[in-house]
């Protein structure tokens, strides 16, 4: 049954201020439309994903054998620093904000974000930050003290830290941080004040809920990182001594302020992913999400607890209260566990369709579970003492951020691509993409658990030619190439689908949430009309209006 509203006339768009005379390039460069900005977020972030992925291939090429192959020690330090920084700050955080930009106003029935011009400003800071960060390759070498830039390494002492690279790193991250904070203000205001009539907080789609909690985390944590960056900048350039023990400063203070942001940032990077999964799983199981409110409270719980676990990154400094941060870290696994029950119970007895979006969602469930469990090991200080700075940590972060966030990003992309373009991506190529990536990912990163248990330290460019180490490293290099290869069918799929002439139905998946009520792609003003909203699944209610009429009439008459 077609319940999506009719495609509006072109005249309607012109009436809403979209000038047909403007050149498309000018239109895109000056737009304040949340949908166009959302697309630009996705494209820009995916570009940096490619750049950082290339750096990862370089890292794996160097580690394919013991000894020095392609990169010396200093180059190698720069590689893993830039890989981590780019993936986290220019890819994962912005791409999830990109989905938020496109989808959140549609899901709550708003016409745009609350502050469209601020929205455009937030976006444009990101390519600027990317260029700033990478200009360091031309200006004497990029940052090289790891994406965490621990003081005193980053303070300008010794060979590391003297480069202008770290200054550019600081400036780039100040830009990304400001973009994030402004974006968070925009999301929270939009969600609080711009919801359609009938769209109460507890009827919001779960993706919108996770963007709300994420934005609160960004709003309260990112400014602390800004203060840390400012202090580091002052130390390096104006002779300050915040992190310089020789002048009365404290080096470990950097770790405290850095992780006070960067641990909540982990949830910034994964909560929207969980939201995507929670919108995708019900659609392809033909069931509502099991335990909507439990999921919302678990999300809020993760957000709140996320502020009390930062020092588990600092167990080996000997400067933190181990029992407290250990207990809190174990505790934060509980709301995540609640969500796993939500998701699994949603699948049980559902009519499951294994579309590509669903495959990536299930990939998220399995991979993020492994990432969660190997993280819980590290919550125990004695285990952490043994495993910290080994490949176990590298395995953990990649299971959470690649197995978790990236799989969710792809799930969201395959699910919402028809909304962006009016056309579904090809399922065959999509499934090829999924399986190549899934196998490549596990080859690369599962073996890192074993490598970590065998004691191989991370962030080294050369290693002892032990038989087990060499074998596992070669396996990982092969896996990394497979991951790189898996993006080929994806990109081919996107290009072929965009060039295809015919259109798919407006609501190809029979979605439940409000973004599927309007046309695909939506008109500039999003909606010509909005349905009455009585539940968290307004489109399901519409589709089954006939069956529901008797029941709802009875309740409304009863209420009167």
């Amino acid at each position: 049954m077609a319940i999506t509203e009719a495609r509006p006339e072109a005249a309607a768009d012109q009436a809403h201020g979209v000038s047909p005379r403007r050149h498309p390039i000018v239109e895109w460069l000056t737009t304040t439309d949340h949908k166009k900005i959302g697309i630009m977020y996705l494209v820009n972030s995916y570009f940096w994903f490619g750049v950082a992925g290339l750096l990862a291939v370089f890292i794996r090429a160097e580690l394919a054998e013991p000894g020095t192959q392609f990169f010396g020690e200093e180059r190698y330090n720069q590689l893993f620093t830039m890989h981590g920084t780019t993936m986290i700050f220019l890819f994962i955080i912005p791409i999830l904000a990109g989905f938020g930009n496109y989808i959140v106003p549609l899901q709550i029935g708003a016409l745009d974000m609350a502050f469209p011009r601020v929205n455009a400003l937030s976006f444009w800071m990101l390519p600027l930050a990317g260029i700033t960060l990478y200009s360091s390759y031309l200006l004497g070498g990029p940052a090289d003290a790891g994406w965490t830039e621990y003081a005193p390494l980053s303070e300008g002492v010794g060979a590391q830290g003297n480069s202008i690279g770290i200054d550019l790193w600081i400036v780039a991250l100040l830009l990304v941080g400001t973009a994030s904070i402004l974006g968070a203000v925009n999301f929270i205001t939009t969600i609080f004040n711009m919801r359609a009539p009938g769209m109460t907080m507890f009827r919001m789609p779960l993706f919108t809920w996770t963007i709300l909690v994420t934005s609160l985390l960004v709003l309260l944590a990112t400014p602390v990182f800004t203060s840390a960056l400012v202090m580091l900048l002052i130390d390096r350039n104006l002779g300050g001594s915040f992190f310089n023990p020789a002048n009365g400063g404290i080096a470990v203070l950097w770790q405290n302020v850095f992780w006070f942001y960067s641990h909540p940032a982990v949830y910034v990077m994964v909560l929207p992913g969980m939201g995507i999964i929670s919108d995708v799983l019900p659609v392809f199981s033909r069931k509502p999400l099991f335990g909507y409110k439990a999921f919302v409270f678990a999300t809020a719980g993760i957000g709140a607890l996320g502020f009390s676990v930062w020092a588990h990154h600092m167990f080996v400094t000997g400067q933190v209260l181990l029992p407290f941060f250990s207990i809190m870290t174990f505790l934060i696994a509980v709301p995540t566990g609640v969500k796993f029950f939500n998701w699994i119970a949603t699948l049980v007895k559902g009519q499951i369709t294994f579309s590509t979006a669903m495959l990536f969602a299930i990939g998220f469930l399995t991979m993020f579970l492994i990432g969660g469990i190997d993280g819980v090991f590290l919550a125990s200080p004695p285990v952490d003492f043994a495993l910290t700075e080994t490949y176990w940590v590298v395995a953990h972060i990649h299971y959470v951020l690649f197995g978790g966030s990236v799989f969710a990003v792809y799930a969201g992309f395959y699910y919402w691509f028809p909304k962006f373009s009016g056309k579904r991506l090809k399922e065959g190529l999509g499934k090829l993409h999924f399986w190549l990536q899934f196998i490549g990912f596990n080859l690369t990163f599962f073996s890192m658990h074993i490598l970590g248990l065998l004691g191989m330290p991370r962030r080294i460019q050369d290693y002892a030619p032990l038989k087990d180490w060499v074998g596992l490293n070669q396996l990982q290099t092969a896996g990394a190439l497979l991951i790189a290869l898996s993006t080929a069918p994806f990109l081919a799929n996107v290009v072929m689908t965009i060039r295809r002439k015919d259109r798919d139905p407006e609501d190809p998946w029979e979605g439940n949430t409000l973004e599927w009520y309007t046309t695909s792609p939506p008109p500039a003003h999003n909606f010509d009309s909005l349905p009455e909203i009585h539940s968290e699944r307004p489109l399901f209610d519409l589709r089954h209006a006939d069956e529901l009429t008797v029941h709802s009439d009875a309740t409304t008459t009863g209420a009167r």
């Binding site: 469209p116 929270i188 004040n193 009938g198 400012v230 009365g248 006070f260 009309s529 349905p531």
Partner: protein, 204 residues
């Protein structure tokens, strides 16, 4: 099938569209932005207290003497400017835009007096040899008060813009969100200073 016509929602620009009874969209945005600013200063204060708690003497030996009475005068000036700012807000709520302009001008003047006073204090301290790079006390002192001063300067620009807009008659009792936003920001800057004054000057 009953539907809500979105045309009625489109008559107002997005930034002004809010639910009756709730906080207006632009004010909510301001409050959230201020929350992020609080966390920014929270990071700097956290650094100050961490460094202070580890120092054997505070302020470290050889630090020039900070004149508390001088800072107290600056505090009085800034707190009064908050009061005058609020008088301006109350004036426009009564639709008195002439009084609004008067109080905005007074607040702006007091803000500039504060900045001039702070610049003079910086000059005296630098003459006595205390700079950003003279040691950890100088680093924390100039960073914290410097970022606060920058926020006062930003707030003063904000007030100036509001004043110019008030001159062209843009505000009424019904429509003056920007005036309220400027006052929220100015009060925030004031409260941060009270924190700084008590931390640096009073809590020896």
């Amino acid at each position: 099938m009953a539907v809500v016509d979105t045309a009625s929602l489109q008559e107002r620009p997005a930034s002004e569209h809010h639910k009756p009874g709730g906080i207006s969209t632009s004010l909510l945005g301001m409050v959230l932005f201020i929350a992020s600013e609080v966390m920014f200063f929270g990071g700097l204060f956290g650094a100050y207290f961490t460094i202070r708690s580890a120092a054997p003497h505070w302020p470290p030996e050889g630090t020039p003497h900070l004149t508390t009475w001088y800072a107290a005068v600056l505090t009085t000036i800034l707190v009064s400017s908050s009061v005058t700012m609020q008088l301006g807000v109350w004036a426009i709520r009564r639709n008195d835009s002439r009084r609004l302009m008067l109080w905005l001008a007074v607040s702006l003047l007091l803000g500039l007096c504060f900045l001039a006073g702070q610049a003079n204090e910086y000059r005296m301290l630098i003459e006595e040899g205390m700079t950003l790079s003279s040691g950890v006390f100088g680093s924390t002192f100039f960073t914290l008060t410097g970022f606060h001063g920058a926020h006062v300067a930003g707030g003063a620009c904000f007030i100036l813009i509001v004043l110019l807009r008030a001159r062209s008659g843009q505000f009424t009792a019904r429509y003056h969100d920007t005036v309220e936003m400027a006052s929220y920001y100015w009060h925030f800057v004031d409260v941060v200073w009270l924190g700084l004054f008590s931390t640096i000057y009073l809590l020896r």
